[in-house]
């Protein structure tokens, strides 16, 4: 293409020269032919400008030097003119082409500086480094044509693995190369192509170092095998390697900080758990042991007292059982093992089972249940939602005065099913409301009562696993109202009838 344009310009110059012939000397016209040489040198480099010089001499000879339209020359002096012209043209084109190269280099280095700057800025803020690594290797591939692979070392076992590459998806060519890379990781020195170590390898391995530790290795395989890596390219690679090191160090530090924070948090939890567990197990154990020894030793003989002791044993055992269930659920929630086993459920059914479960505790509390007919089905884990309701009912019972009324009501609100468990009793203080769903949080007023503050946090965990919400409705009156909201999915197709023409309704 460049040669074509050069040719076109020469044709143009020839036409202009022809037009000017009557008014100018032939030598002046010869100068015109330096124009295409210069233009092509600046825009297209050395090759086209040499071509322009040669074409210029021939065209000038053919069209202007007598005899016209022939390459023959009458006046021998013109040969001298040609020689001077060619010399000038070559000097010009060489100079212009060098200028162009310098410009190219300047542009490239500016782009590189920009890329380095941009990457250095991002590496200080981005948390996920992997997309950034892709850009790193691409930027490097911009300076050195070839394959670039970034290998990160796994902190656990110091094994290298490919983290990013250009072109994407390639891996080290051989086990041999992996061996060299591993060596570079261990000793923190360059190796491979153009270095003192294993220089016959086609790949250059650069360590990515920070604070005496080698964190990664950069493997660079230039496209052209013979060409050595220039000092300037080395410098660039060094700059990139440093940036990558900064990023890696930053990531590692923040991970370590996270871990430390998590450890101290879990230590606190452990202590809290241990304290409450020992309290919560010891209390019923003490009652049971006391009651049982009383019975065994025949210390209590009257029938009524024996009956009371036996009931105590039973109730305390049940309490321990509920506590164990909660503890188990908490552990499963925490470890992510609790996955709702979702199936179609009827909320009325779940409420019925929950009431049956806390039947014994409900003796002294009137219970109101309001459930509208034709409730839509929900998709939920029956046993888990049941567990939530049992916890809420137990709380309602525990925190209401004797004979205090407890109400369960259900309503549909758009695409949500709301279940409301209300108990009469002193409203939970404003200051406590924020924390009641936290693990091990207990109301100050309730320290004398049994429980370790797991119930509500389990409820929250279970409800959130169902993409629902749970909250305490603020109310200035003397009631507490806990509300669960669960999404109502599109209803399943109605059951097929087993008899032709059966109507579903009454």
């Amino acid at each position: 293409m460049a040669y074509f344009w050069t040719f076109l310009i020469t044709v143009l110059v020839t036409i202009i020269g022809k037009l000017l012939t009557p008014y100018f000397e032939l030598l002046n016209i010869a100068l015109l032919y330096l124009l295409p040489v210069m233009i092509s040198a600046v825009y297209w480099g050395r090759g086209p400008s040499f071509f322009a010089s040669l074409l210029g001499v021939l065209t000038f000879d053919f069209f202007f030097v007598p005899p016209l339209y022939s390459f023959a020359v009458y006046d021998i002096r013109y040969l001298f003119t040609f020689a001077v012209y060619l010399l000038v043209a070559i000097v010009i084109s060489t100079m212009a082409a060098r200028l162009r190269d310098e410009l190219d280099k300047a542009v490239k280095s500016e782009r590189l500086t920009l890329a380095l700057y941009e990457l250095s800025r991002q590496i200080a803020v981005v948390t996920d480094l992997h997309p950034l690594f892709e850009r790193f290797v691409n930027a490097i591939a911009d300076i050195i044509d070839g394959k670039i692979i970034l290998l990160l070392s796994d902190p656990g076992n110091d094994k290298l693995s490919e983290a990013a590459s250009s072109p994407p998806g390639i891996v080290l060519a051989s086990e041999n190369e992996r061996g060299i890379a591993q060596w570079v990781l261990e000793y923190g020195q360059r190796a491979g192509k153009g270095t003192g170590i294993i220089r016959e390898s086609p790949t250059l391995f650069m360590p990515v170092k920070a604070e005496d530790r080698t964190l990664a290795v950069l493997a660079v395989t230039p496209e052209i095998e013979g060409e050595p890596v220039s000092p300037a390219q080395y410098q660039m690679l060094e700059a990139f390697a440093n940036l990558i090191a900064v990023g890696l160090i930053r990531q590692r530090l923040s991970q370590e900080a996270d871990k430390a924070r998590w450890l101290s948090e879990s230590e606190k939890l452990h202590t809290a758990l241990l304290n409450s567990v020992s309290h919560e197990i010891r209390t019923p154990l003490a009652s049971i042991t006391g009651a049982v020894t009383g019975l065994i030793d025949d210390a209590v003989i009257d029938h009524k007292s024996r009956e009371i002791l036996l009931r105590t044993i039973k109730e305390e055992a049940q309490r321990m059982n509920r506590f164990t269930s909660n503890l188990l659920d908490m552990t499963r929630l925490e470890s992510g093992m609790l996955k709702p086993n979702e199936d179609w459920c009827d909320m009325q059914d779940i409420i019925g089972v929950s009431i049956r479960e806390v039947h014994d505790l409900l003796q002294n509390h009137p219970l109101q249940v309001h459930i509208p007919a034709d409730l839509p089905l929900i998709k939920a884990d029956f046993a888990l939602i049941e567990h939530v309701l049992i916890n809420l009912l137990e709380n309602a019972i525990k925190y209401s005065p004797p004979q205090g009324e407890i109400t369960i009501s259900v309503q549909q609100q758009g695409k949500e099913l709301l279940v409301n468990v209300i108990n009469a009793g002193p409203a939970i203080p404003m200051a406590d409301r924020k924390y009641i769903f936290d693990k091990f949080y207990r109301l100050h007023a309730s320290e004398s009562r049994a429980g370790i503050g797991l119930g509500l946090s389990i409820c929250k965990g279970i409800i959130e696993a169902h993409k629902g919400k749970i909250w305490l409705e603020s109310s200035e009156r003397n009631i507490n109202s806990f509300i669960i909201s669960l999404p109502i999915p599109d209803q399943p197709a109605p059951p097929i009838s087993i008899v032709k023409g059966e109507e579903n309704a009454v």
């Binding site: 009431i355 049956r356 046993a383 399943p492 059951p495 087993i498 008899v499 059966e502």
Partner: protein
């Protein structure tokens, strides 16, 4: 009620549980044998000729489901399984493998005795009573008439079939799968929502308070149980 010395085999690896069951069951008049492993349990089942087997699903030496399948190869002795709350799938698996009923640990002796009585009753007689009665409800199977407190109850054919199936196996747990297969056939055995809809309808017709049912009880995650006499199942007081 000393049930004419019916023989009970207890298969459980926990010594305490075996001892507790042995003492309580013997005191009630049963004849008890113990096995601490699944392997031993299978042997005992052949030698001891139990009338009912109580099987713990958490045996260390083998899977409870395998024991049930092996037993079912040669005998229809009722099997009651002991399980824990968290393991619904384990219970369902065991029931579908042929166990007759389950009870969740910790359980009350009253509950367990009720389960044993039901299991023995069912294995003793064929279900061909023409009229089933539970609480205030009677079902005349021959005439397809259901009455509640003497008044005739109008049920759709599907509701009727479900109620009949549950009533014929009163006091026993019926898994969702068993009920769906019996009413709609094997292609519908996973359509749990059919049951949710029909059981809700049935409860509205036969229960005084559908939110606190007395007859058709839900076994969470497992299935349903129709109770003839509510004091029998909730017999923990």
């Amino acid at each position: 009620m000393p049930s004419d010395g019916a023989r009970v085999l207890v298969i459980d690896d926990e010594k305490q549980i075996r001892r507790m069951l042995n003492i309580s069951l013997t005191a009630t008049g049963y004849n008890v044998a113990e096995a601490s492993t699944g392997h031993d349990g299978l042997n005992q089942a052949a030698i001891f000729h139990p009338d009912v087997i109580i099987l713990d699903l958490g045996l260390p030496d083998c899977d409870g489901k395998d024991i049930i399948s092996k037993l079912r190869e040669w005998t229809q002795i009722p099997i009651i399984i002991l399980s824990v709350r968290e393991k619904e799938n384990e219970k369902i698996g065991a029931l579908d493998a042929g166990a007759d009923d389950y009870i969740t640990k910790p359980f009350s002796m009253g509950e367990l005795l009720a389960r044993i009585r039901v299991a023995l009753r069912h294995s003793a007689k064929a279900e061909d009573e023409p009229v089933l009665a539970f609480g205030e409800i009677t079902m005349d199977i021959a005439r397809r008439i259901v009455t509640i407190r003497g008044k005739e109850l109008r049920l759709t054919p599907t509701e009727y079939e479900i109620l009949k199936y549950l009533a014929l196996q009163a006091d026993r747990v019926i898994t969702h799968r068993q009920l769906l297969r019996a009413i709609w056939g094997p292609n519908y055995q996973d359509h749990t929502h059919y049951l949710r809809i029909y059981i809700a309808q049935l409860r509205h017709k036969i229960e005084a308070d559908p939110s606190q049912p007395r007859y058709i009880l839900t076994e969470p995650g497992v299935g349903y149980r129709l109770v003839k006499d509510s004091s029998d199942v909730q017999g923990n007081s």
